[in-house]
């Protein structure tokens, strides 16, 4: 008993040293602290790696005795990629489960559908992986990932600075409401770098032949091309480029392209392929990844980029709750998050804070990976951090 207590105190001390006063004593008179996540688990995609990692971290915490004796009960609600189901799931978590906050969710449409619900109920969401644009454009959501929009700016910036690209082109496939967000991301890059984009195409189809687009990029004379293709699209993109025998273009992708599946599928390609990561590259066994990797191994979960998001979201919640003096309720957790304390984790390139802004995009740092002979290789030893937005 004492041993666990000591262990808890020790780990809590390490965790909180940077940010939280050690004297805080959260209490939980009404049973375990309820936290939930709305995620896409079945349907077109399976993003469950993120909330499962969150669950693993909370489990680890509970096994170690909880926060000041308070255990955390975590619920993963599947939204099937269906807005109606997502809305129901959020209501269920808020009304029936009585969650104090949401953490570690990764969904195709949770933010878009539910951000307003969260706002109305004064419950905040620390999204594990923010996907849709509203995750970065709502008062009630602050994801722990960089997100496709900031990452677009960062990767474009990297291409100008480190790859010496002169004629940058972008191809985006637009799903509901992302058009403005991508346009803003490109505009932000233009402002930072002082360059203008050579070609910006927002009409990439979600499915279908990519040949016309690659031909268009080649004919426009682009020397670096960024697309927001997700995993299968990345492979399709490069294979089509190979089929069309296009050379001399740096291919830039966002975090969804950074997977082992892509590296395996494109092992034979000679094309220069770059991706920007959301966190410390998950394929690297670095010091920064040590705690996350250990947690995943203990829980028997796969080490994926999504699980980094789930892991970090759990850490944010634990640290926030640990700093609460008194009863842990929705009000106190929301207030603590809105204080906007900066929380620093080795897994991310800059400090996370929620805060009280109208929109949140706290993470602004990435590392760039290149695919070399079927292996992801780190191109930037240090974090590539964007200058503060506005």
């Amino acid at each position: 008993m004492t041993k666990t207590r000591n262990l808890l105190l020790a780990s809590a001390a390490i965790l909180l040293a940077a940010t939280v006063s050690a004297k805080a004593a959260p209490t939980c008179e009404n049973g375990p602290i309820q936290i939930g996540a709305v995620s896409t688990v079945t349907g077109v995609v399976d993003f469950s790696d993120a909330p499962r990692a969150t669950q693993a971290v909370f489990q680890q915490l509970n096994d170690a005795g909880g926060i000041n004796g308070c255990k955390i009960e975590f619920t993963i609600a599947d939204d099937k990629g269906d807005p109606q189901v997502a809305a129901q799931a959020a209501r269920d978590l808020i009304d029936n489960k009585g969650v104090v906050a949401l953490a570690g969710g990764a969904s195709l449409l949770d933010c878009a559908v539910n951000a307003a619900t969260y706002d109305r109920n004064d419950v905040l969401a620390v999204q594990g992986v923010g996907v849709d644009p509203l995750c970065f454009n709502a008062p009630s959501v602050a994801p722990v990932n960089v997100g496709p929009y900031t990452l677009t700016t960062a990767v474009l910036d990297y291409a100008t600075k480190d790859l010496g690209a002169k004629k940058l082109c972008t191809f985006f496939s637009i799903i509901g409401g992302t058009q403005e967000a991508y346009a803003a991301a490109v505009a932000r890059w233009e402002k930072i770098s002082g360059n203008t984009i050579t070609l910006s195409d927002m009409t990439l189809p979600l499915q279908g032949d990519l040949t016309p687009y690659l031909v268009k990029a080649r004919d426009a004379g682009c020397d670096a091309v960024l697309t927001n293709q997700v995993e299968p699209g990345v492979v399709q993109w490069i294979k089509t480029a190979d089929a069309q025998k296009i050379t001399g273009i740096n291919w830039l992708f966002l975090a969804p392209g950074y997977t082992e599946g892509v590296s395996k599928a494109l092992a034979d390609s000679k094309q220069p392929i770059y991706v920007g990561t959301e966190w410390e590259p998950y394929t690297e066994a670095t010091e920064a990844n040590a705690d996350w990797a250990k947690t995943m191994e203990t829980a028997g979960l796969a080490k994926t980029a999504f699980s980094q998001g789930g892991y970090m979201a759990a850490k944010v919640l634990i640290d926030t709750i640990s700093g609460i003096e008194g009863e842990v309720t929705r009000e106190t957790v929301t207030a603590a998050l809105k204080e906007g304390k900066e929380l620093t984790y080795p897994i991310a390139g800059n400090a996370y804070s929620f805060g009280d802004a109208k929109a949140h995009s706290p993470m602004q740092a990435t590392k760039i990976m290149q695919l070399v002979d079927g292996k992801w290789t780190v191109k930037t030893k240090d974090w590539f951090v964007l200058p503060a937005a506005e």
Partner: protein, 289 residues
């Protein structure tokens, strides 16, 4: 104009796929009188079976053979449903059945094949055949085109020249009568289902590496396929063949026209609309009404 042509050529491989799927749709309609909304989904099942076997380490050729067999089996399964419970139903009911089945098949397919990381499709026919208008035309595109032409011609010859073909035609027009003159109706119908399943599976395998290879999007290739079949008025294989290729080319060229290119998914619909409006100029009362 030049870029338009380039883009059109780039749509060739999609066109080949639409053509063969369209021809398969007519094949099913003419022989077993079903407008089959699950056509592409059946093919997708076979394709994913191939990928699963390939990922398990089976040699590509063998995996393809098993995949085609799996497609045929999937077709057979739908065929069993149709012949067991809906042999005597009207065309509208049969279409409704396949539309409803599509919902379930996509759910099951996504469950079995989906997940966080998609599968990767080996290129069965790699490399490019020749260069046209600055675009490499791949062997895959050429093969789908050749395959659809071959399938069209073979089917036409088969139906016109062979005894079984004649029986099949009788079967689709008067199943009851066909039964009376001793044709094994059910067996033949199941054969048709299996053949279409196998052919679509093979066609989808060829084009899958160049498309977004998730189960749902492959299954929904049925939309351009049926559009192609409509161009053939559900009777002419050749018209459907040409129609399918045209839809592909049209989609390709639309993607070169800036402001509308993001709506290129609407091309099959506009084609359907145009074809129907044109073909119903002369209204007539047919027996089915």
């Amino acid at each position: 104009m030049d870029s338009l042509f380039t883009a059109a050529v780039a749509g060739l491989s999609a066109g080949g796929a639409y053509a063969i799927l369209g021809v398969c749709a007519i094949f099913t309609y003419r022989l077993v009188a079903v407008v089959n909304f699950t056509g592409a989904a059946i093919g997708a099942a076979g394709t994913f079976a191939m990928v699963a076997l390939f990922e398990l380490g089976m040699p590509l050729l063998l995996a393809v053979l098993f995949g085609v067999a799996a497609g045929a089996l999937a077709g057979l399964a739908i065929g069993l449903v149709m012949t067991t419970w809906f042999a005597g139903s009207n065309a509208s009911t049969k279409a409704a059945v396949t539309a409803a089945l599509l919902v379930g098949i996509i759910a099951v397919g996504l469950r079995l094949t989906g997940g966080q990381h998609p599968h990767y499709f080996p290129e069965i026919i790699p490399g490019s055949a020749f260069r046209l208008a600055g675009v490499e035309v791949t062997w895959a595109a050429v093969t789908t085109l050749v395959l659809s032409v071959a399938f069209t011609l073979l089917t036409e010859q088969f139906l016109a020249r062979t005894r079984t073909g004649l029986q099949l035609r009788a079967l689709s027009q008067r199943p009851m009568a066909a039964e009376l003159i001793g044709i094994r109706v059910r067996l033949l119908a199941l054969g048709v289902w299996a053949v279409t399943g196998g052919v679509t599976a093979f066609a989808l395998m060829i084009i899958a590496p160049l498309r977004s290879p998730d189960f749902a999007s492959l299954s929904l290739l049925v939309v351009p396929a049926l559009a192609a079949a409509l161009i053939g008025a559900f009777s002419s294989f050749r018209a459907a063949l040409i129609g399918g290729v045209m839809i592909g080319l049209l989609e390709g060229s639309v993607s070169a026209i800036g402001p509308v290119s993001q709506y290129r998914g609407a091309v099959p619909f506009l084609v359907i609309l145009a074809v129907l409006l044109w073909s119903q100029r002369g209204a007539r009362w047919d027996e089915a009404r």
